[in-house]
């Protein structure tokens, strides 16, 4: 009898724990060293290729419906000649207290055991709530069914779904690659090694600004970088607990040219 009570008590404790998971299986994270990023946008094209991202054309871009799951934001400060330009790659931040996840009425987005914010295309009914709640503006909506001109569809990646009209989508940290690596690791009865998985953007980055890995492993490259004193997270004050960690750009205050 007491065992039943204990079970109920344990279950209740589980269900009352914020975020539910005692700990994540892995805690995937990307560390972006903005001081390395030179804004070349190789990551953007890599993402297009890996994730079957549709092209929306000039009109679509004008309507602000471009599908870049990862974008390089550029901000210019100052006037000529003291111009300072800053770049920052913004992809889904895979927040551990994700505002988008609470918004969805049909569980189309939820948190998985790897600390990833997962989007289930099949469940999505298109209420736009997740995209509205997202402070990072990384969610993209299939306004139409976008089809590439034939035969450009032959390069579509079979590991990734092609989304239909009315569905919300976003960066997945290339979950298909994570999946492959985790399966392989499981076959060999080991954990995924550091550096074994590289999402398309991380893989392509010529300057090595992006690093992907498991934050749970204190010896991983991301954990090492995340301990940097330059560490910060975008809009930390919103308390969304993003998994993308940025390292501050080293930059003069723009007065240097005056001396």
């Amino acid at each position: 009898m007491s065992s039943i009570f204990k079970r109920i008590k344990d279950k209740l404790a589980d269900y009352r724990r914020p975020g539910y998971y005692k700990e994540f299986d892995y805690h995937w994270a990307i560390v972006v060293d903005i001081d390395r990023c030179n804004g070349c946008e190789a990551c953007v094209v890599a993402c297009y290729a890996e994730n079957n991202i549709p092209v929306v054309g000039k009109k679509g871009c004008d309507d602000a419906r471009i599908f870049n799951w990862i974008r390089i934001e550029k901000y210019i400060e100052g006037e000529y000649p003291d111009v300072r330009v800053k770049f920052i790659p913004i992809m889904c931040q895979q927040c551990d207290r994700a505002p988008c996840e609470i918004g969805c009425p049909v569980y189309a987005t939820y948190h998985n055991q790897d600390g990833l914010n997962v989007q289930v295309y099949n469940r999505c009914v298109g209420t736009f709530t997740c995209a509205t709640y997202c402070p990072y503006d990384v969610r993209r909506f299939n306004w139409f069914t976008y089809k590439p001109d034939k035969p450009l569809d032959e390069q579509l990646n079979p590991d990734v779904t092609v989304r239909e009209m009315g569905v919300m989508e976003k960066c997945t940290f290339c979950i298909q690659r994570i999946r492959y690596a985790k399966d392989a690791a499981k076959d060999e009865e080991r954990r995924v090694r550091d550096g074994e998985i590289k999402p398309a953007c991380v893989q392509s980055c010529p300057t090595g600004a992006l690093t992907f890995g498991d934050l749970k492993d204190p010896n991983s490259e991301v954990s090492r970088l995340a301990r940097s004193r330059r560490r910060y997270r975008v809009f930390e004050e919103l308390n969304a607990d993003p998994s993308v960690i940025y390292l501050k750009r080293v930059m003069g205050n723009g007065k240097r040219s005056h001396d």
């Binding site: 190789a42 550029k74 006037e79 690596a181 398309a200 392509s204 010529p206 001396d259």
Partner: protein, 769 residues
Amino acid sequence: MKRRDFIKYLGAGGIGTAMGIFFGKNTKPPGAKLIPYLVPPEEIVPGVGAWYSTLCAQCGAGCGIIVKVMAGRAKKIEGNPLHPVSRGRLCAMGQAAPQGLYNPDRIKGPLKRAGSRGSESFMEVSWEEALRTLAENLAGLKVKGSAEGLYVLAPPLRGHLDALIRDFTATFGSPNYLPYDLFDNRNLAFANAVSMGMESLPHYDIENTRYLVSFGADFSSTWLSPVNLSYGYGQMRQGSPGVRGTLVQVEPRMSLTGANADEWVPARPGTEGLVALAMAHVIVAEGRYRGREARQWRSLLEAFSPVEVAKVSEVEEKRIERLAHEFASTRPSLAIGGDVLSGYTDGVSGLVAVNILNHVAGNIGVKGGVVPNPVDPFFSAPGRDFTRSISTVRDAAESGALKTLLTYNANPLFTTPDNLRLRESLDKVPFMASLSSFMDETTAMADLVLPVHHFLEDWADDFCSPSVGKPVATIMQPAVSPKYNTMGAGDVFLELARRLRHEREKALSGGTEILGEFMDERFSVKDFQEHLKRSWRELHAKDRRLSGGNPTFEGFWNRLLKDGGWWPEGAPMEKGPAVRVKDVAAYMPKGASMFEGEEAKHPFYLMVYPQAGLLDGRGANSPWLQELPDPMTSVVWGSWVEINPATAMKLGIKEGEMVTVESPYGKIDAPAYLYPGIRPDTVAVPIGQGHRSYGRYAKETGANPMDILPSLQDKGSGALSLNSTRVNVSRSPKPGWMVKIEATKKEYGREIVQTVTPEEFERMNKEAT
């Protein structure tokens, strides 16, 4: 090569050939998946990609790549992690290569002109007919004794395909094999040749430098080898803990590299070389130069004191001095020059000036400086022929010396200034054949279109230039079987050779012997793949570095295809050549570069530059690259004119409004983009858009600044001077719209991109250690 991350190569042997496949370390054991390369691997396990290593031919950098192939289709391109140039990374353009392969506007079979020339009306013909037509035309030339009337125009190729075409042309009896590419760094090669005697481009060791001054070289987007240099840039910034290299960019228009610089020095257009010399002047005058000829250098640089240079360049004297001090005292330091600088009318002088600066600061031949690439007996790019250029073709066409023009993947009609009048000249050419995958402007003029394989379907190799301080040879092998009725470029030349030989036999039977060539066994192989293998067999036999590790050729060949190429593990640093006063004296600038047009009528300097992703316009038919926001302006699907906001306000131009850019040679219309990173007396237009042909995505998108450029060429190098005219800017009544992705340029204090000052960074490092 200790890339133990997640991949390794698996060997695979076939009947007569072999191929590389690229698997995840954790999939099934080696040997389970042998895939003969010619058979589309439709039988292989569905859903599991095979990775083939090959060469990226999107630009001339020569990155080694791996291609993920699933069910016989190329899915994804990544950098080859073993390759010393790409180091496993790849730029936007390289990754967009499958968009060329599967482009809906690819030419699907040989075409013969049906309408008038340039009308783009063609009829489909068989390969047999197409090749016969071309062979007969060539035979006709030969018979008439005007074999030198054959001109072959191709991008600067560097491997055995280059050798084959060169041999073919020479054997045919024509000296006119012209490599042409708009951004082929002719000036840089020439300047290095005259000032340092370098035959090949050196490796600029950004990775190890601690103070980099770039005079206009935009290595982040297009200059030389963007992937390799960007890797170096990343390493320079944060590669080793606590050490962060500084980047100073001297250019009138802030390029992507300039945007990343710690300091942007907006010198007046055409005076960057003077700034470099002024820095050299300071170094020499202060006795920091420890090399030979100190006195001579001092007198040579006498005229370029910071005081004088500050007057023309509008860079403060103190600033030049400070930069010179920092440059000389930070070790190692490096100066590079290119793009804008080499585009001036005296671009060679500017680049020589950069070499002088490197020389006096002692940066040549040191780690973190200019690392010379060894001239390898086997694996070096051929030396450049500076005597002939695109104007040679124009002149030959005008004079009627050009009888038959063969172009291979070259599009001079788009990438030369309209003012060169190439179009009119080519109209006079009796016969034009184009080997190209796309109906570009030049191909549209051709009488015969021979569609060649996309590089993902073809065989070739490449000897990388600039290399990375050691020879790098990369193999291009087919990742997928040809999608359309196309032929490999090498195969076309071999087939032509066979047919010409056949023509000869016919001629022999007729009693006349005029076609005695092409009997060489080089031309008698089955196809280009065989040719390539044969050539490598010869190399393997000659070069002990190759045969050392793999005594049998087959083993070596397999290894070659697996790894995607051959390069030695390491190479000793070449001794740096010295810059001699007598060599450079002739190239000292007389002042700021000249610009066409009068200041009163054309008040603005025009800077043109390759748009990231489109390069010289070749990327314009890729939807991905068209939709890739330009890094600096975020404009997509079109071109734009960069104007300083203050200037725009004076002219009453708002962002997005159409403006007319008028030079003495013509005018174009494009929307204005207000860009604080450009001098108020300068406007800039990117090259790459404004195609008249080239498929649905490229056509009628944007404007081509080539339409308004003068056809000036450097006398020494033969390179086109792109930044050579002044323009006037006015509001245009023409309709047009600009689409940019950014909503605003400002951050509104939201601290999205947070920064630390270098001082804080120093402090952080000290605290950390």
